[in-house]
Amino acid sequence: MTTIETKSGTGRTGTRGVGRAAVRGLGLALVTLPGAVLCFTLTLVSLALIPIGIGIVTTPWVLTGVRAFADWRRVLAAQWCGVQIPSAYRPVPEDANPWTRTFAMLRDPATWRDLRWLPVDMTAGFLTALLPAVLLFYPLEGFALAAGLWRVFPDGYWYGFVPVSGQASAFGAAALGLVILFFAHFLTPRLLEAHFRLTRAVLASNQGELAERVRVLTETRRDAVDTSAAELRRIERDLHDGAQARLVAMGMDLGTIEVLLDKNPEQARKLLAQARQSSVDALTELRDLVRGIHPPVLAERGLGDAVRALALRLPVTTEVEVDLPGRADAPVESAAYFAVSEVLTNAVKHADADRIWVDLHHVAEGAGLLRISVTDNGRGGAATGAGSGLAGVERRLGTFDGVLAVSSPAGGPTMVTMEIPCALS
């Protein structure tokens, strides 16, 4: 959801673009017509069977299928024409009984939008998908007629509005084909886009964006709460096993020293050294803990210098470029710092790089944007998949509507770009 997708194929009018649009349209038309008819029929039958009970069991299955069909179309719309159709289904309780699931799905307005869309898809949708192919392939028939195919139809033949009865009129047909081809060159990709726009018009709710926003917010809020709860648990454990335990030991030592002071000064002195060491260790642990919660340099100097200080601690030569005319809000600074820290750790651990570049700058356009890029000359192949450190960074940034993009071809270089909307003060 937060990964930036690359847009491809929007309104491209090269010869390849035309051919591709026509072939895609043809394929789409061939699949969608039976698909939509099947989905629609099954849904109607399933709904009709609800009163006798069978429908209760089948409806969730069928509607899930319909949703998959619609979602597949959403993906194609985004990939082929860059048309974004937000998906706004309410979550269905997975392990609930069929009755609850059926009615939860039926109460969702998105379900009814899907059902309204299916008839449109099998008619207007089918035509708009087929047209690009027709515009490209029909002229071929005109050329075939002129090339001699007209002889096969001795009784005359209509090509468009041209009656073909001899070589001359066959050339007329070819000319018409040429004109159609000329228009096809401009229209084909747009027609395919029109198909997806039509899909969006019917399929996307006018509240789709809002619903999508709510979904994203719910998800990121849950992540944020989970993360902070986990952090608190870690801090509690670290304090409990670390500094707290050492202070207890120190107190005990001091108590013993009090007793030993007169009886055995030599032993007391030894314990005193031990107590002092305990206090040093406790301080070291507290310092590391504080660095993990909120690095002191970040509090004292802000993001730019905190990242510089971080870079100085790395075993890999790291160049830091900072162009920040002010300071961002503390939570944003903190999130950005830990994101950079995690990405740098990743680079050092996995990339086998001998040089890293960090660039931090603020883009003033709109409400403002903090853009951070971390590039290394390592071996590449970094991924944002589940379980990787980068997925965690993505989640952290998500709370602030931030995004993360990774470019890491095998063999390197790896470039991780992060953007967080924020204003500077």
Binding site: V290, R308, R313
Partner: protein, 217 residues
């Protein structure tokens, strides 16, 4: 020796005052905020300032900035900066003017009164006192891709570490329980291996080593 002390936490300030007085320092002023420190440094002309990095009113690096400003007005003004954490970034800023009379230590170092007082005296005399943690960070960063450093023997590395902290040959000899002559030999070897110019002046020697370690970053 007159000291200006800046520390915002009462307990620590009080402890430092008592510690320094026990070692016959004269406390010219013990202040708790940045503006007070700036005024004290300008008016009292102390022999050395002992300054906490983080001070009110901003609770950012107010103390460090005050110290840097004061040294700009009065080059070479001896300043020993104390902090709960050490950062190479700050060490570099303190060393940037290359004039010495600078210290940068973790607050924990106060626990060892002898060594702490030694550091204050060294800084007051125009020397350097860098926290072992700073030096270790510098060394571990350099070590990875630095060939001259790799050619040092373990003993020479030890000597280099202590030297970079700002200690004199005599102090290093005492710490490593060897003769001063042996240390002088190690020092000469280190300087030859790192390609640094030998200097009899202890302070210049320390600054050269620090500059070498911090080079290229």
């Amino acid at each position: 020796m007159r000291v200006v002390l800046a520390e915002d936490l009462f307990l620590l300030r009080d402890g430092l005052v008592r510690l320094l007085e026990a070692y016959d320092f004269e406390i010219a002023a013990a202040v708790e905020s940045g503006p007070e420190l700036a005024a004290a440094l300008a008016e009292l002309e102390p022999d050395v300032a002992v300054v906490d990095v983080r001070l009110p009113p901003t609770h950012t690096d107010e103390g460090l900035q005050c110290a840097l400003n004061a040294r700009r007005d009065r080059p070479g003004l001896p300043v020993l900066v104390l902090s709960q954490h050490v950062e190479q970034l700050y060490a570099r800023e303190l060393l940037a003017d290359g004039s010495g009379g600078v210290g940068y230590l973790l607050k924990d170092r106060v626990f060892d009164a002898e060594q702490f007082v030694d550091a204050v005296r060294r800084v007051a005399a125009g020397g350097t006192a860098m926290d072992p943690q700073v030096i270790q960070q510098l060394l571990s960063r350099r070590a990875a891709d630095d060939q001259p450093l790799g050619r040092l023997t373990p003993r020479e590395r030890e000597v280099l570490e202590l030297m970079a902290q700002g200690r004199t040959n005599a102090a290093i000899a005492a710490k490593l329980v060897v003769t001063e002559r042996a240390i002088a030999k190690h020092t000469a070897n280190i300087f030859a291996k790192l390609g640094l110019e030998v200097s009899d002046d202890d302070n210049r020697r320390v600054l050269a080593v620090l500059a070498y370690l911090d080079h290229g970053r």
